[in-house]
Structures are given as C-alpha cells and as structure tokens.
C-alpha cells in the first residue's frame, strides 16, 4: 500500500534542502577585503572633512575676533567726523539677507553680543557648505572673492550665527 505525498510537499522539501545547502555560502574573501578597505576610505574621508570644518571654524573665529576689535576702535574714533561725513552724503541701502544660520558655537550660552558685519572669503564659506551663491553679494563676482556677512559674536568672542547679505548701495549728494 502506498502513501501519497503531494507535489507541494515534494517542492517544499526540495526548497528546504536547497536552503540548507546554501546556508553556508558566502561572498569571496576578496569582497570582504574590498568592503573593509572602502569602509576605511569612507572613515578617513569623513575625518578629513571634519578636520577641515574645524579648522575653517577656527579661522572664522579668529577673523571675527579681529573684526570685533576693529569695530570697537572705529566706534570710539568716529564721533564728530562721522557726523561730517553724513552731512555730505545720504547713503541709502537696500539689503536682502538670509536668515541667521547657527555656527558651531551656537549652543554655548550667551550673555551679551554684537552683530559684526564683515567680508568673508567666499572660499572659506564654501568649505562650510553655507554658501548660497545666488544670494550672497560678491565684491568681484569671482569664486575667489568675498561675501558680506553679519556674524553674531558673543561677549566671549565666539561666533554664534551668520547671515549673508546682498546689498545695493545708492549714494546721493545732499544739498
């Protein structure tokens, strides 16, 4: 007497046997070596990028600190001569600015601060990844030129945020 097994069972047994046989299959050791090498490359590239950003932030912090110093000296020395200058010309400026974007030290608490306007090398902003080329105002229009930026600097000298400015200046002689 015979016991019939359905085709489904035969198929299921065969598939299970194939799955069992193949469970030990794996990619060649060369693939593992290549993938691990790719991992090392990615990690190295990521570290290089981080170092570039950190050094760029350092340069920016120094530039901002210098700009703050210069700004304070100028404000002390301006006084009457500043009034005289404003008698001669009426400076009308229309500005388009981006929103303030946080910088690396934006998380550091701030008690007081200043907004410092400065010209920043375009190349350094490219390294930040913060350069919207169609918004910023360039001095020479070239990639190697400068862009105008307002930087919020805390009383500790650390830059907290930056915005970029497009400025159209019109000077009229006052009668």
């Amino acid at each position: 007497m015979k016991d019939f097994q359905s085709a489904d069972h035969v198929l299921a047994d065969g598939l299970r046997a194939i799955a069992d046989e193949e469970s030990g299959l794996s990619a060649s050791p060369v693939v593992e070596a290549n993938v691990m090498a790719a991992f090392s490359d990615v990690v190295r590239a990521r570290r290089r990028r981080t170092r570039r950003i950190v050094s760029a932030l350092g340069v920016a912090a120094v530039a901002v600190a210098v700009a703050v110093g210069v700004s304070k000296v100028r404000s002390r020395n301006s006084g009457a001569s500043g009034l005289q200058t404003s008698d001669l010309t009426l400076q009308t400026s229309r500005e388009v600015t981006t929103a303030f974007m946080p910088l690396a030290y934006s998380g550091v608490p701030i008690a007081d601060g200043h907004v410092v306007r400065m010209e920043v090398p375009r190349a350094s902003l490219v390294s930040f990844g913060l350069l919207p080329a169609d918004i910023v105002d360039t001095v020479d229009g070239a990639r190697g030129g400068t862009v105008i930026a307002d930087v919020i600097v805390g009383d500790d000298g650390l830059a907290r945020a930056v915005r970029f400015v497009r400025r159209a200046v019109r000077k009229e002689l006052q009668r």
Partner: protein
Amino acid sequence: MDDDGLLDRVKRGDRQAFSHLYALYQSAIYRYAAHMCGAAAADDVVQDTFVAMLRQPARFDPARGTILSYLLGIARHHVTKRLASGGHESPLDVDGPPGDGGGVVDPIAADDTPLDVLSREQLVAQLRDAIQSLPPAYREAIVLCELQELDYATAAAIMSCPIGTVRSRLHRAKALLTAKLAAIHRAPLVVTRPTR
C-alpha cells in the same frame, strides 16, 4: 545589539561593528544575488551593496524594516541594473509572460511517477535548474520567501510591491516549478512512499 545600535556604531566609524554587520548579512545578500544574476556577479553585488550603504548610512530607517531588508533592497537595485543591462531577462518588477513551462500545470493524479526513485540530490539539482529558469520576478519571490524564509511583509518591502503581489508571484512560481519538474519526468509530480 539591535540593528539600530549596530548601524550607529558603523556611522561613528567603528570598524569592528562594520565587520560584524558584514559577517551577519553578506551571506544572505550573496545567495539572493547568486540566484538572481549568477554566482559570478554575486560577489560584485555584495560589494556594491555594502559600499552603497557606507556612503549613505543615514538612509536606513529602522521604522521601515530591518537592516537585512534594507541591504536586500539595495542589492535588488544592483541586481535590477545588471538584469536590465544583460538584456536577456525581463526586469524584476514586471510580471511578464512566464515563458516555457508557464502553461497549465499538469494535474497531480497518477502514481506511476519516476520521482519516487529520484535521489534527494537529483531532486535538488533539478529544482535548482527549474528555479534558475523561472522569470526573475517569480524567481525572486521563491528566493526571498522560500530560500531566505522572509515573511511576506518583508519580501514586499524589498520587492517594492504589495503583499498580495508577493503571494500571487510565489503561488505562480511554485506552480511553474511543479510543472517544470513534472515535465522533466513526463509525469505528474507525485511521490510515493511505502507505509510503515
């Protein structure tokens, strides 16, 4: 460690974690790729899959599935490109004509089949050939749901199709395999066993 924690360590540049992740999942990807586009290309698919994951590790969303399904999804993308460039097989997402053996499955009725004398090895070898001859969309359903034993939902996520489509492709694939095996022996696929 769960998938998310493992991938977090990989993102932080932990070489040991990446090595562990590779060891865990390379075999499944290799087996899938070997069935879909041949053993020769499977190594390349494994490599491309892990390199792609390395470049964009943030694209993995644990809410959408496991790392395995994420990696198999990447692998499927590379397999699809290879199948498309090969030009000899239809794309994975097309339920085209099933090709040879795609007709009506022979009814299972007779008991004078030669399969009862087939060794297990013969059956497995013939089944392998039959799987390879399936259209890619059906083969993929068999590989994922039967050989990799993934559930329908996971397979559907990998195949980018509804669960119902996975079910129907799997059903169709099994019917085709049955028909192919039966055709080899010119008899319906029925195995007899003596009673104990």
